[in-house]
């Protein structure tokens, strides 16, 4: 599903590689954490998966396709296979919860009928059916992240990429969001979560790919620092 083969990424501005010779494979239906302190290279890894950045060397294979030489015009279609959530939610403040989710559907030219069926369904999945007409600024942080999650999965992507999804949330709310990510994973979606929240990673007990200074130093099931 997501495969890195000897991927290195160097930014022009610095001498040190942001990612150094990374090789790993995340299979269909898997749940994996990308962990490491800030500046370790997690975000670069996410950007590489989203093809927001190009690797300096190596290959990135997504859904069996080498994306290294993907034409820019094909990138939108690659992104339709992945849902994304961010630490800062990135909702549109002048649109209601319903419209925020529906927006993701009509930019990929979904039919109105499909939108009317799909949006209420994902809103109920994230537990926000009663907040459809509410604007984001009237919601709590956890609820906003739920809207972002609904938006990320509304087009049925085969994988969900989350970059520090609980970074702005209190521990209890964070745990709710993780539960939701787990539910989405159980429905068959591959989930990749970049985070530095040790307690959550330990509690989830999933596969952990740990990055330090651009190197993958550990890749196994367990907690943040090793097997529990």
């Amino acid at each position: 599903m997501i495969e890195f083969r000897n991927v290195s990424k160097k930014y022009n501005s610095s001498d040190n590689a942001a990612i150094h010779n990374a090789t790993f494979k995340i299979n269909k239906g898997e749940f994996a954490f990308l962990v490491g302190s800030s500046g370790s290279g997690k975000s670069t890894m996410i950007k590489l998966i989203l093809k927001e950045e190009e690797p300096t060397s190596g290959k990135i294979i997504i859904n069996g396709k080498d994306t290294t030489f993907l034409k820019p015009s094909k990138v939108p279609y690659l992104r339709r296979s992945m849902g994304v959530v961010f630490q800062d939610f990135r909702l549109l403040p002048d649109k209601t919860v319903y419209e925020n989710v529906a927006f993701a559907m009509y930019v990929v030219k979904a039919t109105p009928k499909h939108v009317r069926r799909q949006v209420p369904m994902v809103l109920s999945l994230v537990g926000l059916s009663d907040k459809a007409k509410v604007y984001p600024n009237e919601l709590s942080g956890g609820e906003q992240q739920r809207v972002a999650l609904a938006r990320a999965i509304v087009n049925n992507p085969s994988m969900l990429i989350a970059d520090e999804p609980t970074g702005n949330l209190d521990p209890n709310t964070a745990w709710d969001i993780m539960g939701l990510l787990n539910d989405i994973n159980l429905r068959g979606t591959t989930v990749v979560v970049a985070t530095h929240a040790k307690d959550i990673v330990d509690r989830m007990n999933k596969r952990v790919i740990r990055i330090d200074k651009g190197n993958i130093i550990r890749d196994e099931k367990g907690g943040y620092d090793g097997e529990i």
Binding site: S73, Y77, A104, Y106, V108, A110, P112
Partner: protein, 301 residues
């Protein structure tokens, strides 16, 4: 809630929304586009009228090709065919020796006695009166006619013709320069206006990119915005041009100079469609180009 998710409807609605959201910038760019379009329009109309006047003068200002006195009738007929075959020749009219004498007599009016005796021994040469389709080609046509057999000389009012074609050419140059200037300035202004909208909506654009919207879909509303600005400017300018043209035309037609000449100018109704089409095409092209340029940076991600 009852938002309709129809793609084309979405593009147009979003385009109009940002036109009204950025009222000041949109207003400023419409004013500047109108000003440049107006300047272009003035010269365009001036050029059209000068061309029109030139056409009329061309029809009146022909050249007189004097035929050798010893030319036979077949030679004279041959000559007519040969002149007609030359490029840019419009009409060829024959004036016999008798015609020439008669026209001289009519000019003299009461002083017919001066012409006494000429009836028996007519000194006036026969000639062809040649008019051209394009006055700027005057000297070329003259050279070709002088090469033909049976031609004695050509009498023409070269200065008038040369002056008129000079005026026409310089107006054409000015119009072209203004047109290029108009395009550059207007694109610059539209780029700036749309960049503001793009900036205000950068969040939306980045979300669109993450959920997999194609670049052409993201660009859509901004192109619509550019076209709206362009077309509003086109219609506002055509109104201003119409009013000023008619005002100027009234004064010009009343002036004694024009009245003394046997030429006419275009009424605005004869030109409005042409000007409007030019403006709308310009407005649309500038709008599209401007928004494409202003979007470039934001579509890279």
């Amino acid at each position: 809630m009852t938002v309709r998710y129809n793609s084309i409807g979405y593009l147009i609605a979003e385009g109009f929304k940002s036109v009204f959201k950025q009222k000041k910038m949109t207003g400023a760019s419409i004013i500047i586009m109108c000003a440049t379009m107006f300047m272009f329009g003035v010269f365009y109309l001036l050029g059209e009228n000068v061309n029109y006047v030139m056409k009329q003068v061309e029809n009146q200002q022909g050249m007189r090709v004097i035929i050798n006195d010893d030319a036979t009738e077949t030679q004279i007929d041959d000559l007519k065919v040969k002149i007609q075959q030359i490029d840019n020749v419009s009409t060829v009219t024959f004036y016999s020796k008798e015609d020439a004498l008669a026209s001289m007599k009519s000019i003299l009016g009461d002083h017919q006695d001066l012409m006494a005796g000429y009836d028996e021994d007519n000194p006036f040469p026969a000639s062809y009166f040649v008019t051209l389709t394009d006055l700027t080609q005057n000297s070329k046509v003259q050279e070709k006619i002088l090469d033909l057999d049976g031609v004695d000389e050509i009498s023409t009012d070269n200065d008038t013709i040369a002056n008129l074609s000079k005026v026409a050419q310089s107006i054409q140059t000015v119009t072209l320069v203004l047109l290029s200037l108009l395009i550059v300035i207007s694109i610059f202004i539209i780029v700036y206006t749309i960049k503001l909208t793009v900036y205000a909506r950068r969040r939306e654009i980045s979300i669109m990119k993450y959920v997999g919207a194609t670049n052409s879909f993201i660009r859509g509303p901004f192109i619509v915005e550019g076209i709206i600005i362009g077309i509003i400017s086109a219609f506002v300018t055509i109104g201003i041009v119409a009013l000023s043209y008619n005002a100027v035309l009234d004064r010009v037609l009343e002036s004694s100079v024009i009245k003394s000449l046997t030429i006419s100018l275009y009424g605005f109704s004869e030109l409005i469609l042409r000007v409007l089409i030019v403006y709308i095409i310009l407005g649309t092209v500038i709008g599209v180009l401007g928004s494409m340029i202003s979007m470039r940076k934001y579509l890279k991600v």
